[in-house]
């Protein structure tokens, strides 16, 4: 009675914000950029999306505005790291802190207000869940079966070679960062609009960091991101359901289970990557390295 359709839906719903953010970061990292600001992008998306949905009464518009806000904030990161060649790790961390502070300030008027209801889509599941699921094969196809995807991966694997071939490394990366920001923003908005149904300061509560871990776990592959998000969402929901059902498992163990599972899988994945030769799961060659055309 624990593993029923309701639990499955709760699981998929809990996994959706992480899935969106992780898919976005897969695109960014495949282009060779490490953006640690996912948490900041998500919280900005959560507030912008909620504010827009509240103002217009349309959740669809809320998600659209969240995507724009996420992409907009990501542009700050893009300008700093791609134009001014700042350190990507430090800039990403700063972006997270900036997003948390910014939303704490502008979020005050939205506290204690309810979100408009999310319309149910096909099979009683809201459209964002379907969109998240649809994005997985689309992004996989885009990365692996299109010319644009090939260029993006080329830029990520070896930006000097891509540059020598005449591809615009900086432009490709800025586009990837914008796409990643938009997806992270939508993931954040899913938390405020569809899960918690209101805005509260700091509400993403670390979801962005989990998304970052899942990208590594996923081997920079969209299908892996789906598996990772479901595993994490599944363990989170399952532990609450087990508690509610009164199953005699130590609660502390259940509470740490999602994090434990993430660490465990990360260890397994990195072990596999160390011992397997030439597998598809290794990090993009130019990940995190700044690119300067004159060098």
């Amino acid at each position: 009675m624990i593993l029923d359709v309701t639990t499955l839906l709760l699981l998929i719903s809990a996994a959706t914000p992480i899935l969106f953010a992780a898919l976005g970061e897969v695109i960014v990292e495949r282009a060779g950029v490490l953006n640690l600001g996912v948490e900041g992008l998500m919280i900005v998306g959560a507030l912008a999306g909620f504010a827009a949905a509240h103002a217009t009464g349309s959740t669809a518009l809320g998600f659209a505005v969240a995507a724009v806000a996420g992409a907009g904030l990501a542009m700050i990161f893009a300008v700093l790291t791609q134009m001014l060649l700042t350190n990507q790790v430090a800039t990403g961390l700063a972006l997270t802190l900036f997003g948390l502070g910014l939303t704490a300030m502008f979020g005050k008027p939205y506290e204690g207000i309810k979100a408009p209801p999310v319309p149910a889509g096909p099979l009683g599941v809201n459209a964002m869940i379907w969109l998240g699921l649809a994005l997985v094969p689309l992004i996989w196809l885009g990365l692996n079966r299109t010319r644009a995807g090939l260029i993006l991966r080329g830029v990520g694997e070896n930006h000097d070679a891509a540059h020598a071939l005449g591809y615009k490394v900086r432009a490709v990366r800025i586009a990837a960062i914008a796409a990643g920001g938009a997806l992270a923003g939508m993931g954040g908005a899913y938390i405020s609009i569809a899960i918690v149904l209101q805005w509260t300061e700091g509400m993403t509560a670390g979801a962005g960091w989990i998304a970052l871990a899942i990208v590594v776990f996923a081997g920079w592959n969209p299908w892996g991101a789906l598996a990772g998000a479901w595993l994490f969402g599944g363990v989170t929901v399952l532990q609450l359901r087990l508690q509610a059902a009164g199953v005699a498992v130590p609660v502390q163990l259940l509470s740490m289970a999602p994090y434990l599972a993430t660490i465990l899988v990360l260890v397994l994945i990195s072990a596999r990557q160390t011992y397997a030769r030439g597998g598809g799961g290794t990090a993009p060659g130019s990940l995190g390295r700044p690119f300067h055309a004159l060098r």
Partner: protein, 369 residues
């Protein structure tokens, strides 16, 4: 105050604590605050002021102080202070800024309050829901379990599935009292009722509270009680068409349903009284535990979603508790393991309540050890 005088006063405040024999000076006779001088009062909150629950209510108390004393007081607050080492930093910051009365408004600030109070013997501290006191540390608490008895009665009458859900924060006596009290009174009016408990291990985590509510609803629960601070469980209850109660604050945005009533913590009278005592120099350390009868615990409006006879029954119980004619923990009561706890007519002592670490008979869930 410029930086230099701030540092100087910091040194002056910190020095006595370091000198041997300084402890005797901690007991300086209280003197009234002279007219024309401003009393600075500081607050630390565990969540954001906008949580709409626990911290929001404490902030209403702070505003009540300003309204009551006007220019004679100046208040400041620091919100979202984590329980742990960072609380000590926040308290020290307030003490160094010249606040001579500081309210620390969460259980987990306890050790930080005691440590900071030792460093600042001339600053008075008030710690909510704690039990460690000193000459300059008083504690104050509210008998939330009295309110739980009233909403437990409503919950027992309102459930159709006979399953009540309870979102707990941490397994500490304050929360366990609430679970026991609401269960006892739900069972009293509805012998078939069951209680499902989920621990969130947080006072404030909206996404987790929402997921916990969803898990309870999936388990067939149709009335949700919460001992966490955000309105997320109510939003979830509304979506699922079940009912819940305002926690710590009225949460009136969710009237008339899912929020059918609420437990309100009204800290304002206590805060006004204690600030007044600092102003006239009569403040002393104490530990108080006030309830419905003292006006510190209030029951929010019972909405039209509740049948009139249930509302009357709940209000009668509230009146009995207020007049001390009835104690929510009155025997015969057994512990969860079937052993005897209170004999017929006996009532629990405050000591027993403040160290409560067991569920009463009939609750199936286990307290995490």
């Amino acid at each position: 105050m410029n930086r230099r005088t701030l540092l100087a006063s910091a040194a002056a405040l910190a020095l006595p604590a370091l000198l041997p024999g300084a402890r005797a000076r901690a007991q300086t006779p209280a003197t009234p605050v002279p007219a024309g001088e401003t009393l600075k009062v500081g607050f630390i909150y565990v969540g954001p002021v906008g949580d709409g629950g626990w911290s929001y209510q404490h902030d209403l108390g702070r505003k009540a102080i300003e309204a009551e004393y006007g220019d004679r007081v100046e208040t400041t607050f620091i919100e979202s202070v984590p329980e742990g080492a960072d609380a000590e930093r926040a308290l020290t910051q307030l003490a160094l800024a010249g606040n001579t009365l500081i309210f620390a408004t969460s259980f987990g600030f306890m050790d930080a309050v005691i440590n900071t109070a030792r460093k600042f013997p001339n600053v008075k501290f008030e710690h909510a829901t704690g039990y460690k006191r000193a000459d300059n540390v008083a504690t104050y608490d509210a008998r939330f379990y009295e309110g739980r008895a009233v909403i437990g009665t409503i919950a027992g009458r309102m459930t159709k599935s006979n399953k009540i859900g309870y979102i707990g924060s941490f397994p500490i006596p304050e929360v366990i009292q609430g679970i026991n009290s609401s269960f006892i009174h739900a069972r009293k009016v509805n012998p078939g009722v069951e209680m499902k408990v989920v621990w969130a291990y947080s006072w404030f985590d909206p996404a987790k509270e929402a997921d916990a509510a969803a898990a309870l609803i999936a388990e067939g629960v149709d009335v949700i009680l919460q001992h966490t601070d955000s309105t997320a469980p109510l939003a979830k209850a509304q979506e699922a068409g079940v009912i819940g109660f305002g926690q710590a604050s009225d949460m009136a945005n969710f009237k008339p349903t899912p929020r059918v009533s609420s437990i309100i913590d009204n800290w304002a009278p206590y805060y006004i009284r204690r600030v007044g005592q600092i102003l006239d120099g009569t403040w002393t350390s104490h530990g108080v535990w006030l309830g419905i009868g003292d006006g510190e615990v209030e029951i929010g409006e019972i909405t039209e979603a509740v049948p009139a006879e249930v509302k009357a029954e709940a209000e009668a119980l509230k009146a009995q508790i207020a007049s001390k004619a009835y104690h929510p923990f009155t025997g015969p009561l057994k512990k969860q393991d079937g052993s005897d706890w209170l004999a017929e007519g006996a009532v629990a002592t405050d000591e027993e309540l403040s160290s409560m670490n067991f569920f009463v008979e009939g609750i199936a869930a286990q307290i995490p050890s």
